[in-house]
Every structure is written in C-alpha cells, then in structure tokens.
C-alpha cells in the first residue's frame, strides 16, 4: 500500500542546529498518526517537512507515492492548498478577518465563491461549540476559542491530509476531548489522513498509532516488539 505521506531519511538543520537526522516515517491513507516526543526533539520540523512547508537538506518526502521535495515551490504550494489542511502550533488566525472569514479562507483561496465559502464555514461553529462567535476578530477570542477556529479552518476544505500541531494545547480537558472526538469522528467519516503532533498521551490515545521523535529521529514503539 502506498503511504499517504512519508519521510525517508530526512535531514534538516536550522543553520548549524540539526533538527532532523535521518527521520523516516510513513503515514497510511486514512490513518491517524500521533507524533509525540520531548520539546525541541523535531516534531514540528518533521510536520513542516512532510507538509512541504520546509524543504529537507537530504532524504525524500513523498505524497501518495510521488516525490515532492524536488518540486518547484509553486507546485508544492498548490499541493498544500489543494490537498492539505493545517492547524499550526503558534499564531495562525488572520487578525483583520472575522472568525468565519478565517475559517472560510482555505475555500476562498481554492476559488470557492464567497457566499458559499461562508455558509460552509458557518457549519463548523456549532460543531465546535463556537456558535455566536462568527463575527468576532481573533483578538476578541479566548485562546481555546481561537484554537478551535483554527481547527475548523484546517478541516473546512475537506483535505486529504490534515497536519495538526498541538491542536488541543490551549484547551481544558473537557473541551480538548470534545474537539478530539469531533476531529477523529470527522476524519474517520471522510477517510482523512491525520498527522497529529501532541505531547499529551490522552490526546495521542485518539490516534491509531503513535511514533516518538527523539533527537531528530523517529522511533516506532510497539508493545509486541519481542523485548524482555
């Protein structure tokens, strides 16, 4: 089976700081993969390489079997827009736009008409307990509300692959669970592949499988590894 996205021996450095050292991971189509590991171990960097936001110094990135790290930036950018959804770890909403415009943004960028894009965006507000906040600007939302708006934006265009970096980081346990329930439910319904970076085991437990990033390498842990 061809992986939906994979990294093969990927190396990446920020200047002289190595962030990934021969990182290899394959995410199957429709799989929800949790990426865990200590702070600074390279989780976000791996996510950004998989998603084609960063270009590795070495190794390969493949999307549905096709190599993407050697594509021209314009093609990679089209790929991100048409097939991927994103929830970033830091600062993501456009402050000048209302919450519903933020959610509608990926649709507008994909050429959906404004009216239709807003209707589709609004559907997400009830689902994420955000009813009534459609017209707020991001500065007028709480941290957890802004995070849920960002999640809606990541999912609104029904991406093939959703990249989510700590999507519940700013949420209390109950809201976090509600959001994960919804995320996993929607992903399973649509067959969306999800790469979910989280340091919370209870969030990772919603995934089908987890890998751990340690010191720029990906380690797969399985209970049945035949260890003593």
């Amino acid at each position: 089976m061809t992986a939906a996205v994979e990294a093969l021996d990927v190396r990446f450095s920020f200047g002289s700081t190595p962030a990934l050292r021969d990182a290899t991971v394959a995410v199957e189509a429709g799989e929800i993969l949790a990426v865990m590991g200590p702070s600074g171990s390279g989780k976000s960097t791996l996510l950004h390489c998989l998603a084609g936001i960063l270009v590795p110094d070495g190794g390969e990135i493949r999307v549905a079997g096709r190599r993407t790290d050697d594509l021209p930036e314009a093609e990679r950018s089209a790929l991100r827009r048409d097939r991927f959804g994103f929830v970033f770890q830091f600062g993501q909403l456009v402050p000048e736009l209302t919450a519903e415009e933020n959610v509608a943004l990926p649709l507008l960028l994909a050429g959906v008409r404004r009216r239709e894009a807003l209707v589709r965006a609004r559907g997400w507000f009830e689902r994420l307990d955000l009813g009534g906040l459609e017209q707020r600007r991001s500065g007028e939302l709480s941290g957890g509300q802004a995070q849920r708006v960002a999640l809606a934006r990541g999912m609104v265009a029904e991406p093939e692959v959703l990249f989510a970096d700590e999507p519940t980081g700013a949420l209390d346990s109950l809201t976090g669970e509600h959001v994960m329930d919804m995320l996993v439910g929607t992903a399973r319904e649509r067959g969306t592949t999800v790469v979910l970076v989280t340091h919370e085991a209870r969030v990772a437990a919603y995934a089908d499988r987890e890998v751990v990033v340690r010191d720029g390498r990906v380690v797969s842990l399985t209970p049945a590894a035949g260890r003593p």
Binding site: A201, A205, L221, P223, A225, R227, P228
Partner: protein, 174 residues
C-alpha cells in the same frame, strides 16, 4: 471495589431482589467481570447476619429469587460513613515499573527498551479505553477517564525517567 458496600448502596436506593442487584451491579460496576450469583448471595447472607440488611417476606408465586432485601439503619449508617471517607491517597511509591527500571540499571540491562515497551503498552491500553469512551455512555466515560488519567500519570513518569536514564544509571550503579 468493595462488593458488600456497593450492594448496600444499591439497596439504599430501594429494596431489591437479588436478581435486580446483580443486574445493576454488573451494568454499573461489573466491567466484564460480572458478579457471580454465588458471591452475591453469600455476601447478602453475611450482610443479613450482621444486621445490615433484612430479608423481606418471600413473595407468592415464588421462583428461586423472590426474596426482597431491605437495608437496615445500621447498614445505611455504615454506607454513609464509607461514602464520605476519602480513600487513602497512596502514591504507589514502590511500583513494579520502578523496580524493573532500577534493577535493569543496576544489572546493566536495557532499561530504555523496557521503558519503551512499557510506554507502548500503556498507550495501547489508553487507546482501548478511549474507544470505550467514544462508543459508550457517560458512565462508561467516567470509568474510562479514571483509568486514562492514571495511565497518563504512569506514562509521564515513564517519559521523565527515559529522559533521565543516563543520570540514573550513574547514581544506581555507584
């Protein structure tokens, strides 16, 4: 789980037949380990002997299970006291996990491989409980959450210990 006190709690709600007690016990507290009828009736027998329940009249048209059990004042008092009493906040300082890591380090075995395998086993169980929670009602969720938070606490300890293995090795072997 204290079976006698749990049964008293169910009887505090309303006088019940043995069969109803078993059904409610299994639904709320059984979790794949249903209460055997033998244990149910021996427990009810002891509670009756100790004056915590009384057995009502055998009802007409009786099958084997037509006796109704009623909680006594003494039983109710004991149940209330148990309900209010916090359980011991036991930090489990001597867990098997701890012992395995310490011994592995002491004997120069692969403690990291053990911790990795344990971590994977914990997460596997957490996934199962999460699935139970997603498929079930609020009572299932409540119980699954209790398990999840405890497993999570272990898992955080496992991660921290993995990160400190080199320092620990030096200390244990010196």
């Amino acid at each position: 789980m204290s079976v006698p006190l749990t049964l008293l709690g169910l009887l505090e709600r309303e006088p019940s037949h043995g069969y109803d007690l078993k059904r409610d016990y299994d639904a709320l507290f059984g979790r794949g380990r249903p209460l055997p009828f033998g244990q149910l009736y021996s427990t009810l027998g002891r509670l009756a002997r100790d004056g915590k329940v009384v057995v009502g009249e055998t009802e007409a048209g009786a099958g084997p299970d037509r006796k109704r059990y009623v909680i006594t004042d003494q039983g109710a008092t004991e149940f209330e006291a148990w309900l209010r009493e916090p359980v011991e906040a036991e930090p489990h300082l001597q867990t098997v996990l701890f012992a395995k890591v310490t011994l592995a380090l002491m004997l120069g075995r692969d403690a990291e491989a053990y911790l990795d395998a344990q971590r994977a086993a914990h997460l596997q169980r957490m996934r199962e409980l999460t699935e139970v929670k997603r498929g079930g009602g609020l009572v299932d969720a409540l119980l699954a959450d209790h398990g999840l938070f405890h497993l999570e606490a272990d898992l955080r300890w496992i991660d921290l210990t993995t990160a400190r293995l080199d320092a620990l090795r030096t200390e244990v072997r010196s």
